[in-house]
C-alpha cells in the first residue's frame, strides 16, 4: 500500500474519533432544543463548570474560598482531603442535577411560551452567570484533569498496524492518541446509552412526548417541568463527560467552554432536532476537517481546521437548510 493512502487512513481514523466527540457535544444541544425549543448557549460553559467542579471536589477545594476569605478575613483553601475520581464524578453529577433544577425553577419556568429569541437570550445570560459562578466557586487558575485517563500515543496500535506498510520503511504503523481512543469509546457508549434511554425507558418516552407536543404530553400525564429538569440534567451529564475529555486534553480552563463552538456546525449540518443528525453530522465534520487539512492544508497555509467546519456547514445550509435529517420545510401559502 502506498504510504500516502496509509497516512490518509490514519487521518480518517483521527477524524472519526474527533467526530464522535463533536457529536457528543452537539447531542447536549439537541436534547434541550427538542424538549423545550431552547437553544442553550450555555452548553459549553456547563462543560467548563462541570470540569471545574469535578477537579475542585477531587482536590478537596473549599468552594467560594476567595469570597469567604475576603469576607471573614480567614485563610482557608482546602479541606485537606482528596476525593477519588469515581466519587467526585458522582458528586459533580449531583451538582449538575441541582443546577438543572435551579435553572428550571428560577428561569425557564417563568418563560414558558416565550419567543425562542427570548429563551436564547436567557441562556446567554445564564452562560455568563455560570462562568462567573464557576470562577467564584473554584478560582480561575488553569487546572489539570487528573481522573486517570491515559495519555500519549498507543504503542500497541502502532506495533500492530505496522504490517500494513508491507515492509515499507517509512511507515511505522498508525499513530493514535490513547486519550482519543478512550474518549471515543466513552462517547460511543454514552451516545448509545442516550439513544437507548430515549427509545426504551418510561422517562425517555415521556421526553420524546414533550419534544413532540406539550398539550398531548400533559394529557397523558407527563409533567413538563419534570421532563425539562431531566433534560437539563442529561445535558449536564453530557457536559460533564465532554468537560472531562477536553479537560484531560488541554487542561481545565476558560477555553474549554469554546467546545460549544465546535458543535454549532455539527448542528447546522445535522439539524437541531435530530439525534441521528448530531451523530452523523459530528462524524462528517470530524472526518471532513481532518481530511481537508491533510489534503489541502499545506497548500492553504494550514490551520484550516479553524474554519473548515463552518464553511462546510454554510454550504450545506444553502442547499439543505433543514439539515441532514430534518423535515423539508415547505412554505404554506
Amino acid at each position: 500500500m502506498p504510504t500516502d493512502l496509509l497516512y490518509g487512513a490514519e487521518v480518517l481514523l483521527n477524524g472519526l474519533m474527533a467526530g464522535v466527540l463533536y457529536a457528543l457535544v452537539a447531542l447536549g444541544f439537541v436534547l434541550i432544543y427538542k424538549a423545550s425549543g431552547i437553544f442553550n448557549y450555555a452548553q459549553g460553559v456547563m462543560a467548563l463548570f462541570a470540569a471545574l467542579t469535578l477537579v475542585g471536589i477531587m482536590e478537596g477545594q473549599i468552594p467560594f474560598s476567595h469570597l469567604i476569605n475576603a469576607t471573614f478575613g480567614t485563610n482557608i483553601h482546602h479541606f485537606g482531603w482528596h476525593v477519588p475520581a469515581f466519587a467526585a464524578i458522582f458528586l459533580t453529577m449531583i451538582v449538575m442535577v441541582g443546577f438543572a433544577i435551579l435553572v428550571q425553577r428560577l428561569i425557564f419556568r417563568h418563560l414558558v411560551g416565550q419567543e425562542p429569541i427570548i429563551l436564547f437570550m436567557a441562556t446567554i445570560g445564564l452562560a455568563y452567570f455560570l462562568e462567573g459562578v464557576g470562577d467564584l466557586m473554584w478560582g480561575s487558575e488553569i487546572k489539570k484533569m487528573a481522573v486517570g485517563l491515559p495519555q500519549g500515543g498507543s504503542l500497541w496500535v502502532e506495533e500492530n498496524t505496522q504490517w500494513l506498510g508491507f515492509g515499507n520503511e517509512d511507515f511505522y504503523g498508525f499513530f493514535l492518541d490513547k486519550l482519543d481512543m478512550v474518549a471515543t469509546v466513552i462517547a460511543i457508549v454514552l451516545v448509545l446509552a442516550l439513544v437507548a434511554f430515549s427509545q426504551y425507558t418510561k422517562q425517555g418516552r415521556a421526553m420524546r412526548a414533550v419534544a413532540d407536543d406539550h398539550q398531548a404530553a400533559l394529557s397523558v400525564g407527563v409533567s413538563l417541568n419534570y421532563i425539562w429538569i431531566l433534560v437539563w440534567s442529561v445535558a449536564g451529564f453530557v457536559a460533564l463527560v465532554a468537560g472531562i475529555i477536553w479537560g484531560a486534553k488541554s487542561g481545565v480552563q476558560f477555553s474549554l467552554s469554546l467546545i460549544a463552538l465546535k458543535a454549532l456546525p455539527v448542528l447546522m449540518l445535522g439539524g437541531f432536532t435530530s439525534i441521528p443528525g448530531a451523530i452523523v453530522g459530528g462524524l462528517i465534520i470530524g472526518v471532513g476537517e481532518k481530511l481537508f487539512e491533510f489534503s489541502f492544508g499545506p497548500m492553504l497555509g494550514g490551520a484550516t481546521e479553524n474554519w473548515f467546519a463552518y464553511v462546510l456547514a454554510l454550504i450545506f445550509l444553502v442547499f439543505r437548510p433543514q439539515g441532514l435529517f430534518g423535515e423539508k420545510i415547505i412554505e404554506r401559502v
Binding site: R205, R208, A211, Q215, A217, L218, V220
Partner: protein, 272 residues
C-alpha cells in the same frame, strides 16, 4: 363512600352507578369574556354524558376545566366524592382522566403504536434507575403495557397502521389514534372533544360504534362534546346543553329534545 344504590337503569338495560364527577357552580372567564357562567352538572359511573351546544357555547372550555387545562375562577370540581384542589393537567391525567382534543394533539413524529404506548405512561411504575439496573422488571412492565396497547389497537381496528408515523395518516384515522391513546390509559373518565368533527358519514358511524362498545365492554365512563344533535341522541344517556356559557338544559335526550330553550338555541344558530 358513595351509595351503590344511587344510580339508574338505562333503557337498554345498563346499570348506571353513582356520581364520579360533579361540577359545582363553575365560572370561567377570559379577560372580559365569560366562557362558562355558573354551571353545575354531574357525570355518573358508566354513563355516556354529552355536552352539546352551538359553536362558542363553552363546551371545550368545560372539558378543559375538567381535565385541568383551564382553572375556573369560581366553583368546585368534586371527583369521586372529594373536592379536587387546583391541579395541573398531568396530575388530572394521573387520577385516571384521559382526553382527546378538538384539534387533535398527537405525537406526529411517533408511530401509531408509540402514540398509544404513551397512553400507558401513567401505568408505568418502574423508576429510571431501576430500569437501568433491573432489566427484567422493566421488560416485564414494557411487555404488559404493550399487550394492553395492542389490545386497544385491535379493538379500534387500526392494526394495519400500527407502525405508520402518525404524520402520514389522514384526519379520520388520526382522530381514531388519539382515541386509542386516551383509551390506553384505561381511564375512569374519558373526555372526548368532538370525536366526530370533520368526519364523513362512514367514519362517524365507526366512531359511534367504538364509543358505544367502549362504554359497553370496558364500562368506561364517557363525557363527550358533540356539535350535532342527531349523533348525540343516539349515543348518550344524559345531555347537558350549553349556550353562550350558560346551561340551558340537562336531562335524557328525549327531555332535552323537547325543551323549549334548547329548541330556540338550536334554531337561532345556523347548523354546519
Amino acid at each position: 363512600m358513595l351509595d351503590q344504590t344511587d344510580g339508574y337503569m338505562t333503557a337498554d338495560g345498563r346499570q348506571i352507578g353513582p356520581v364520579v364527577m360533579e361540577m359545582r357552580n363553575i365560572t370561567l372567564r377570559f379577560g372580559g369574556v365569560e366562557a362558562i357562567k355558573d354551571i353545575s352538572f354531574d357525570i355518573r359511573e358508566g354513563e355516556v354524558r354529552a355536552i352539546i351546544g352551538p359553536n362558542g357555547a363553552g363546551k371545550s372550555s368545560m372539558l378543559n376545566v375538567i381535565s385541568g387545562f383551564y382553572v375556573p375562577q369560581e366553583g368546585q370540581v368534586i371527583y369521586k366524592g372529594a373536592p379536587r384542589p387546583a391541579m395541573k393537567p398531568y396530575q388530572v391525567a394521573r387520577q385516571g382522566i384521559a382526553r382527546t382534543f378538538q384539534n387533535i394533539a398527537l405525537f406526529e413524529g411517533m408511530s401509531v403504536l408509540d402514540n398509544v404506548m404513551t397512553g400507558r405512561l401513567t401505568h408505568m411504575k418502574t423508576g429510571m434507575f431501576a430500569q437501568a439496573f433491573w432489566k427484567g422488571k422493566a421488560e416485564r412492565e414494557e411487555t404488559e403495557n404493550r399487550e394492553v396497547a395492542e389490545k386497544i389497537i385491535d379493538f379500534l381496528e387500526i392494526q394495519a397502521i400500527r407502525k405508520t408515523p402518525v404524520s402520514r395518516l389522514p384526519y379520520g384515522l388520526k382522530k381514531r389514534v388519539e382515541l386509542a391513546r386516551a383509551l390506553a390509559a384505561e381511564p375512569e373518565l374519558l373526555l372526548l372533544d368532538e370525536p366526530m368533527a370533520g368526519m364523513n358519514v362512514e367514519e362517524k358511524e365507526d366512531m359511534s360504534r367504538f364509543i358505544l362498545s367502549m362504554n359497553d365492554e370496558f364500562g368506561t365512563t364517557i363525557a363527550l362534546i358533540e356539535h350535532d344533535m342527531g349523533v348525540v341522541m343516539d349515543l348518550s344517556d344524559r345531555v347537558v346543553v350549553m349556550d353562550y356559557g350558560k346551561k340551558i338544559g340537562d336531562g335524557t335526550p328525549d327531555e332535552v329534545r323537547n325543551n323549549q330553550a334548547v329548541i330556540d338555541a338550536y334554531l337561532g344558530v345556523a347548523h354546519d
